[in-house]
Symmetry: C2
Subunit: 205 residues, 2 copies
Amino acid sequence: MAGKKVLIVYAHQEPRSFNGSLKKVAVEELSKQGCAITVSDLYAMDFEPRATRKDVIDRDLHLPVVIKTEEVMCGAQHLIGALSNPKFFNYGVEAYEAFKKRSLASDITDEQKKVQEADLVIFQFPLYWFSVPAILKGWMDRVLCQGFAFDIPGFYDSGFLKISFAPEIASEEERKAMVASWAQRLKTIWEEEPIDCTPAWYFGH
Amino acid sequence: MAGKKVLIVYAHQEPRSFNGSLKKVAVEELSKQGCAITVSDLYAMDFEPRATRKDVIDRDLHLPVVIKTEEVMCGAQHLIGALSNPKFFNYGVEAYEAFKKRSLASDITDEQKKVQEADLVIFQFPLYWFSVPAILKGWMDRVLCQGFAFDIPGFYDSGFLKISFAPEIASEEERKAMVASWAQRLKTIWEEEPIDCTPAWYFGH
């Protein structure tokens, strides 16, 4: 639908894979419709999946204070941010506080911005052990933090998780049919009812 | 049970957390029983969750050939290994081939060795989005590769996944009861029937 914004969160290492084809066809079909498409290519971004203390940074510091860690520093240096409880690290609590204070690491806030702007989010991934690959699970763990994912009304309502099943045991012809059927579905995707992902029992005591 | 080997795969950032307590009590109780215990403390190890081309290394190279990546090199340098199909990267296929050729990255083979030697594997983790944290999912994705996890008879039979539920909404007293009940269960853990994780329909066409 013209003018709509779509975020594709894509988790495959190989552009020529079946997943790569499904991503490509989505970009093509949705572009034809006049949508603006953003792809988060997680492996290409080397997206960090681990939920750690490094996710809380200090945006107000003027002098870079390098976080002290025992491991070798990797990639961009982080500015250490104060924890709400330095004596007992609770990732969920610290991420929530950091979200409110705007002191989450920028790789998280960049993704949150993409999600917030999107009218539709598509997750494109292969099944690893009956679930999403770790790199995508890390995107979910870190990006969909309290304050962001739990508070925005309608966030869940843009959910859209159905994917083609078992391309590895399908014939070439069946795969082509799956890609074509995905392209077909994308034509009328804006008419679909959103998946309801917020049954009350998820959060009941 | 005296002489048994136990591997605890532990995924929490904070030693004083409820998960940390459950891990501690398991180490204590199983030690009392005379078991040999190994803990894989994934956050402390900064365990890599991403399934990438870097997992295939070359153990035979005498001169270090640093893998070329666009990102900044991090930690130990890898020796690049030949892929079975360099033109089309399929992680599952490459990991399987690398397993057979003994050219998987050492952080993977170290964990496989621990699993292979263990009589019991305990996964200790908090729920993140109704599943394991990404760092533990990455352990599963990378360590439990084809050739290793699918071929060792009895591997699944040592599965043991039941954990305490929702410590965050429990009272302090209830938490203590959960820890005590876990300690109690560990006393007779060797009498339990293993969880059957290999129903035929998982792998049927």
